[in-house]
Amino acid sequence: MNSLDDVARRAGEWLRGAGPLHEIVISTRIRLARNVRGFVFFGRADTDTRAEIAETVQAAVSKALPGFTSLDLEQLDELDRLLLVERHLISRQHADSTGARRVAFDAGEVAAVMVNEEDHLRMQVMKSGFQIEEAWQQIDGLDDALDGQLDFAFHPKYGYLTACPTNVGTGLRVSVMLHLPALRLTNEFDKVRQAARDLRLAIRGLHGEGTEALGDLFQISNQITLGRSEAEIIDEFRGAVIPKIVEYEKAARQTLLKSRLHALDDKIWRALGALQNARLISSNEAMQYLSHLRMGLHVGRVKTIDLHTLNELFLQMQPAHLQKLQGERLNGEQRSLARAALLRARLSNN
C-alpha cells in the first residue's frame, strides 16, 4: 500500500526525542481495552461475527474520530502489517491473527485504535518522553468520544469486561519505555527489577511480552487493573516508579563517567566504529551499538551525532522498515547488507 511506503521514512511523534526526561524515557503509552455489549469476545467469534464487530466499531470510529487513517488488516500484506507492529500501532498478535481486523490512527501516530485484537477495541495514546498525565487526558477523551457511539460491556462489580481477566476493571495499561544502558553495564539492573516487583509492575522488552531487551530498551507496565482507579494507577507511575528508575539510571551514568571512563568511552567509540564501518550487521547488533551511542550522546562524550538521527535509526534497523526503505523484499543476508549501508550513510563523518 502506497501510503505506508512514506510512513517508513519518518518516525512517529513518540520517537521525536522530546518531552520530560526524554534522555531516559523514550515514550509513554496508555491503552484502554473495551468490548461492545451484545457480541462474544473476538477469540470466540466466528468469521461472520468478527466482520460484524469490525463493521460496528468502524462505523463508530468514523463518526467519533474523523481524520483518523483507517486500515483493513486483511487488505495489507505481511510486510505492511509488520511495519505497523514495528511502529507500535498494532500488536504482533493483531498482525498474525485471522478474520476482520482493523486499525485507525491519527496523523502523528499518537492515538490509535486496534479493532478486533484480543478485545473488540484496544485504544492507545503514545507520547514522546514521560507525558503520562497528557497521555491519560487524551485517551480519556478518545474513550468518551467512542462511548458516545458504542455500548461498552460493563459489569457493576468488575467494571469494563475484557476477554482476559487480567485486564478487567479499568482496562487500563500504562507502558513506559525506558532506555537503561548504564544500569545494564554496571550490573545494577536488579534495582529496577526490585522496585518494579515491590509495586507489582511488569518489565518487558521492546515489543512486549516474551521479547528481549533489544538495545537496552525496557517497558514497565502495571498489572493490576481492578480495584484501583485510573488516577491511582497513573499517580503511582508519576510519583514513585518512573522518577526513581530515572534516578538510578542517571546515577549509574555518573558512576561510569567518574570511575570507569575508559571502559565507557571504549563502549561508545567501538559502537560508533562498528556502525560506521560494518558491511553486514544484524538488527540486534545494530540496536545494541545504537544504544551505546545514544548513551554517549547524553553523557556528552559524542557530539557529532544528533538524537533525532539515532531515534530514527532505532526504528529503521527493524526488518519491515528496512525493506520499505529499500523498496523491495530482502532475505536475511540482504537485510544485513542494506542495514550496514544505511548506517554508514547516516553516520559517516563527511
Binding site: N35, R37, F39, V40, F41, G43, R44, E118, D140, D143, D147, G148, D151, F152, A153, F154, H155, P156, K157, Y158, G159, Y160, L161, A163, C164, P165, T166, V168, G169, T170, L172, R193, A196, R197, R200, A202, I203, R204, E209, G210, Q223, I224, T225, L226, G227, R228, S229, E230, A231, E232
Partner: protein, 166 residues
C-alpha cells in the same frame, strides 16, 4: 485451540506461564508429549518465587478448575475448563456464569479490593454517581490509613462495603 509450538503437529494441551525471578512472563503451549520431553510434566516444585507465582493470574493454578468442572456459559457455550486452558473468556456473560471461581481468581490477580473503581460508561446513566462516591471514599480511606486515623478508616470502610454491595 492451537497446535503445540514445539512439534507443531499435535494439539497443545499443556499451557504454562513461566515467570523468572525478575517477574518476566513467558507463555508456553505444548502437547503432552513435548511437555514430557522438555521435562515440564514432572516439575511440580516451582523453580520461581512462590509469591510471584500467586501474583500472576494465569500462574495461580489452584485447583479452581477442578471444583468448577461443570460450569458452562449459556450465552457463548464456553466451559470453565476451556477458559482455564486458553486463558481467555468467551463473552462478557462469563463473568456471571463463572462468578464464584472467577471471583476468587480475580482476588488473587488484582488483590483483595476486587471491585471496580474508576471510569464508567455513559450507558450507566444515573448509576454513575455511585462509582464517583466509591472512588472518593476509597481515596479518603487511604488518607485516613496514612494518617493512622483508624476510627475514621473503619467508618469509611463500612460505607464502602455498603456501596459495593448495593
Amino acid at each position: 485451540m492451537g497446535l503445540c509450538e514445539r512439534c507443531k503437529k499435535k494439539q497443545a494441551t499443556f499451557h504454562m506461564t513461566n515467570i523468572d525471578t525478575s517477574g518476566a512472563k513467558q507463555e508456553r503451549h505444548l502437547c503432552e508429549h513435548c511437555a514430557v520431553e522438555e521435562g515440564h510434566m514432572q516439575v511440580a516444585k516451582p523453580s520461581v518465587d512462590i509469591n510471584d507465582l500467586l501474583e500472576t493470574f494465569l500462574a495461580s493454578t489452584k485447583s479452581a478448575a477442578g471444583q468448577a468442572v461443570n460450569l458452562t456459559c449459556e450465552t457463548c457455550g464456553i466451559s470453565y475448563v476451556e477458559f482455564r486452558n486458553q486463558g481467555l473468556l468467551g463473552c462478557p456473560d462469563d463473568y456471571d456464569a463463572f462468578a464464584e471461581p472467577l471471583g476468587r481468581l480475580l482476588s488473587e490477580a488484582h488483590g483483595d479490593a476486587a471491585h471496580h473503581v474508576g471510569k464508567t460508561p455513559k450507558s450507566l446513566g444515573a448509576q454513575r454517581k455511585s462509582y464517583e462516591d466509591l472512588r472518593r471514599l476509597k481515596r479518603l480511606l487511604a488518607e485516613a490509613v496514612a494518617a493512622e486515623d483508624y476510627e475514621r478508616a473503619a467508618e469509611l470502610r463500612d460505607q464502602i462495603r455498603e456501596l459495593e454491595s448495593a
